[in-house]
């Protein structure tokens, strides 16, 4: 089946003229029609645009055009703006919103010839770990439709896992590509903060948000990242440093690589199968010649409280613009304030409101020092943990999540339990470093487990090299979810 190809395989076949972009796109659209009623990964499917783009790609392919992503069908998380295509960030407050501009990350993929299949579901404004906070519907895990795909980029991860896209863009603020990649058994990269432009990424927490990619292989993620990374004059926080050829970094060779295993990432209460699979994966790295050693990241336990002060604080300001005045739906009240209250009160979901309130509180006069400022100081300590660690090791290997995918509805009444599912991904976001996740096993119920490999800032090459070497020596990533 065409949908079983990896991105890089499909690229070779397209270039060799063995398949056409239209065929490839059609195959994905058909699969979406067949499976998405169960999985519900897509908020919007842009069929006409996709076919038009595929036809254009075929014309270009015929002329020998070798744009890196020419004719490859991809899915885009709905927090990334797309000109002329409804973009909601999973929120009712942006219901029907059609942005007049395209996010830089998406633009670069499109300019490289990619075919956008549609916009994928997300927790509202990327706030959540299960896509259950979407203002529209819940996405289901392709490995078990009763379970969540993770979040917030659950739609993109599920689409790639279910072969409804060759690859996808997600965003990661505290683990939002890594946790769903682990839950859905796909590969992902969360780049260094600033590596990819945030222009057009509907902000949740500006100092943490970063665009990430999903693929069925590390190689696929490296290809997408190569196209997307780099300085953008529209984003002052994007890093103005050259973009390496990430594909070239995939040597398969990790002999002598120093791998740190932080003791703080193996905690009481985690699912034993997850720990076993991750330890086995680390043993595999060692078998491939890596030098594995235990390390300590002593401030790890503060990552969660720090994150839930910093991110909501920034979010409370970022989401202030959704007032019904200039765009999006407006719920009219008799006075200005009633209009604000009605629009925001009726159209934001509970989790978004909770975080706006948390952040507003943390920034208020009299509380700022104790909460926001203190959190920023501890954030610095967390960053220093990693700085110290990376003085001695090249990468850090950890579990991605304490458990495999949980049941839909299981944690929706207990936000703290929900937050804990990101406990292994938050610290790296706070430190602004990069990481990758690759499938490293399955639990007894057939649910995927992910290995997280973290690298220093701008260490994408070594992270990808490690993840790729591991993946080449295992076949977890080749398994297919049991879908109709």
């Amino acid at each position: 089946m065409l949908t079983d190809l990896t991105l890089t395989e499909a690229r070779q076949r397209l270039r060799a003229g063995e398949i056409s972009a239209v065929e490839l796109t059609q195959a994905h659209l058909e699969r979406i029609r067949a499976l998405d009623p169960q999985v519900r990964a897509y908020l919007t499917v842009t069929e006409e645009r996709a076919l038009a783009a595929a036809e254009e790609a075929d014309r270009r392919l015929a002329t020998g055009d070798n744009a890196p992503l020419l004719g490859l069908p991809l899915a885009i998380k709905d927090v990334l703006t797309t000109e002329g295509v409804v973009t909601t960030a999973g929120s009712r407050v942006l219901e029907g919103f059609v942005p007049p501009y395209t996010a830089t990350a998406v633009q670069r993929l499109l300019e490289a010839g990619a075919v956008m299949l549609g916009k994928t579901n997300t927790d509202e404004f990327a706030m959540g770990s299960s896509t259950e906070n979407s203002g529209y519907f819940v996405t289901h895990n392709p490995w078990d439709l009763e379970r969540v795909p993770g979040g917030s980029s659950g739609g993109s991860a599920a689409a790639v896992a279910a072969r409804m896209a060759l690859g996808a863009l997600g965003t990661d603020t505290g683990g939002s590509v890594r946790q769903p990649a682990a839950f859905c058994g796909v590969s992902t990269v969360k780049p260094t903060y600033g590596r990819v432009s945030r222009y057009g990424l509907i902000a949740f927490a500006s100092s943490l948000d970063q665009v990430g990619v999903f693929g069925r292989t590390v190689e696929d993620t490296a290809l997408l990242l190569s196209v997307m990374a780099g300085h953008d004059p529209h984003d002052s926080t994007s890093l103005d440093v050259p973009v390496p050829d990430y594909m070239a970094a995939l040597s398969g060779e990790i002999a002598g690589l120093r791998v740190g295993v932080p003791r703080e990432y193996f905690i009481e209460g985690m699912q034993p199968e997850v720990e076993q699979a991750v330890r086995a994966a680390i043993a595999q790295l060692e078998a491939l010649g890596a030098d594995v050693r235990e390390i300590s990241l002593p401030h790890t336990e503060y990552a969660l409280p720090v994150y839930y002060l910093v991110a909501p604080s920034e979010a409370s300001a970022n989401l202030a613009r959704f007032d019904g005045v200039r765009y999006g739906p407006r719920e009219n009240g008799r006075t200005l304030w009633e209009t604000y209250k009605a629009t925001r009160g009726q159209r934001f979901g509970a989790e978004v409101k909770r975080r706006i309130m948390l952040g507003t509180y943390a920034l208020s006069a009299g509380y700022y020092d104790a909460y926001y400022l203190k959190a920023q100081k501890v954030r610095t300590l967390i960053k220093q943990d990693f700085d110290r660690a990376f003085a001695d090791v090249d990468v850090i290997a950890t579990p991605t999540t304490p458990t495999t995918a949980f049941r839909i509805g299981e944690k929706t009444d207990d936000p703290l339990q929900m937050y804990l599912s990101d406990v292994f991904t938050l610290a790296a976001s706070l430190a602004g470093i990069c990481g990758a996740v690759v499938p490293c096993g399955f639990d007894g119920q057939g649910l995927p487990i992910g290995l997280q490999i973290l690298g220093p800032a701008l260490g994408e090459e070594i992270v990808l090299r490690t993840a790729h070497a591991y993946q080449q020596s295992t076949d977890w990533h080749t398994r297919t979810p049991p879908l109709g």
Binding site: Y101, P233, S236, T237, A317, A320, R321, D323
Partner: protein, 485 residues
């Protein structure tokens, strides 16, 4: 009033005249004339996912002001978000500066009506973005976002000002400096410059500050002066009648000439400032500061001193000339074109200002009158070379002021050149003496003041176009000749 003193601090918002807005590429336009919301983009409309990119020109213009106000420029700057909800604020927060402003601890020397001067300390100068503009129509409000994101400089003084006159002098001097620096047109009626006084009063000798009020929406310096004076009196009267001043934002009712309460502040606003994560901290290199400082133009006080020292003008004349950049420019252009500085000053401060006042033209528009500096210089040259006298020059000024023109050609066309031919002058004198034998006789009999009458008759005969000195000389000579005869 006498046992009370006012304590006033001024908060000034000045839009910076950059080509594009502070965080996007939209043009900065006159928001009173451009069609509403036509100079906008996703960034200044605060659409989802957009990011600000700092316009470094705005920082540079801000630095100019900071340096001109004798401020320190801290090397580390950063932006902060100031959160509040209002429909003219697209993002629900304003990008401003809070804990690390652009410039701090400066001072401004103000010139008081009695000729003295005083230093008012500047607390801080910081950059922020302007908001949109609301217009209320019936039960609707319309928002014009052209102004949203225009760079704005907030200049905050210490509470060093003690009277409405000082407040006015501060505003005038600051406006002059902004104009000299080329960063702001100073047009308060268009809202590009907004001056808000914070006012409290206290019995003389009392150390602590009392409750203050703030006056907003003043559209001229005159309104500032009047509103401030009114508010001081209002507060004093309140205390004297046993009342209390309530912390409030006041407006100025131009028609009734009174301040009116707009909003009572019961608790301090909480803007929840925090560092703007979308913009990296702004490092201001010492080299940049040095560069901007070196490029600062001559400022009013320095120019005043130079006009006094190099051109011999009085302190008063020099102060008036430099008070408006446009006037100073006009003066200097005229001198540059050859005009004698003192003569030029006399003409500007006298005739020109009077004519401008008569037609209700503010001084800063001196550059717009048809009489250009080169014309004035030429006119004065005609006087200096003796082609015309001052009387003719002042008549010609009327024409030139209204229509402009080449003074030399006008003199020729209208036959206004002085009669300088000694023979012609002599004949005119002789004729007048012949026509007035009685007056000549009385003069010769000792009635010397009649010389003035005879002089006038000669000038009239020559229709004013004569060199008065030559006429006087010839008249005396001929009278003496007749005495001897």
């Amino acid at each position: 009033m006498s046992q009370y003193e006012a304590v006033i601090g001024l908060e000034v918002h000045a839009e910076l005249q950059t080509r594009s807005k502070m965080f996007c590429g939209c043009a900065v336009v006159d928001s009173t004339s451009a069609p509403p919301s036509t100079y906008v983009c996703p960034v200044c409309l605060g659409m989802p996912g957009v990011l600000p990119v700092l316009n470094h020109r705005a920082v540079e213009l801000g630095l100019r002001v900071g340096l001109a106000l004798n401020c320190e420029i801290p090397p580390f700057n950063r932006f902060a978000r100031k959160s509040y909800f209002y429909p003219d604020l697209p993002k629900g927060y304003q990008i401003s500066q809070y804990d690390y402003p652009l410039a701090v601890r400066g001072w401004l020397e103000i010139d008081l009506p009695d000729g003295s001067s005083k230093r008012v300390r500047i607390r801080r100068v910081h950059l922020e973005e302007d908001t949109g503009k609301l217009t209320h129509v019936d039960d609707h409000s319309l928002i014009d976002f052209n102004r949203a994101g225009v760079p704005l400089l907030e200049i905050v003084s210490e509470a060093d000002i003690r009277s409405a006159e000082e407040a006015e002098a501060y505003a005038r001097k600051l406006r002059a400096i902004l104009r000299y620096l080329g960063v702001n047109s100073g047009d308060m009626s268009k809202g590009v410059l907004r001056v808000e006084p914070n006012i409290s009063v206290r019995p003389r000798g009392e150390e602590a500050f009392r409750t203050r009020t703030e006056i907003k929406n003043l559209n001229s310096i005159r309104s500032l002066a009047r509103a401030t004076a009114y508010e001081i009196e209002r507060q004093v009267a309140l205390y004297e009648s046993g009342g209390q001043v309530q912390q409030a934002t006041m407006g100025w009712d131009e028609a009734r000439q009174v301040t009116v309460v707009q909003r009572v502040k019961e608790s301090a606003d909480d803007y929840r400032y925090f560092p703007e994560p979308d913009l990296p901290p702004l490092e201001i290199s010492r080299a940049w500061v040095k560069e901007v400082r070196a490029a600062l133009p001559e400022l009013p006080s320095a120019k005043r001193d130079r006009l006094m020292q190099q051109m011999g003008l009085s302190r008063y004349d020099a102060s008036v000339l430099v008070a408006e950049k446009a006037v100073a420019d006009y003066f200097e252009a005229t001198v540059q074109a050859g005009g004698d500085p003192k003569q030029v000053a006399n003409y500007i401060l006298g005739d020109l200002f009077r004519r401008m006042k008569d037609e209700g033209r503010p001084r800063e528009q001196i550059g717009d009158i048809p009489l250009k500096p080169v014309m004035l210089a030429e006119l004065l040259a005609l006087v200096a070379e003796g082609t015309i006298n001052h009387g003719v020059a002042k008549k010609l000024l009327g024409t030139l002021y209204a229509e402009g023109g080449d003074p030399r050609r006008l003199v020729e066309e209208r036959g206004l050149a002085q009669v300088r031919d000694e023979e012609a002058l002599g004949q005119a004198v002789a004729q007048v003496l012949d026509e007035h034998p009685e007056e000549v006789a009385r003069f010769l009999a000792g009635e010397e003041k009649l010389a003035q009458f005879l002089m006038g008759m000669v000038m009239r005969a020559l229709r004013g176009k004569a060199d008065a000195q030559a006429v006087r000389r010839l008249l005396q000579a001929q009278l003496e000749a007749r005495r001897k005869a």
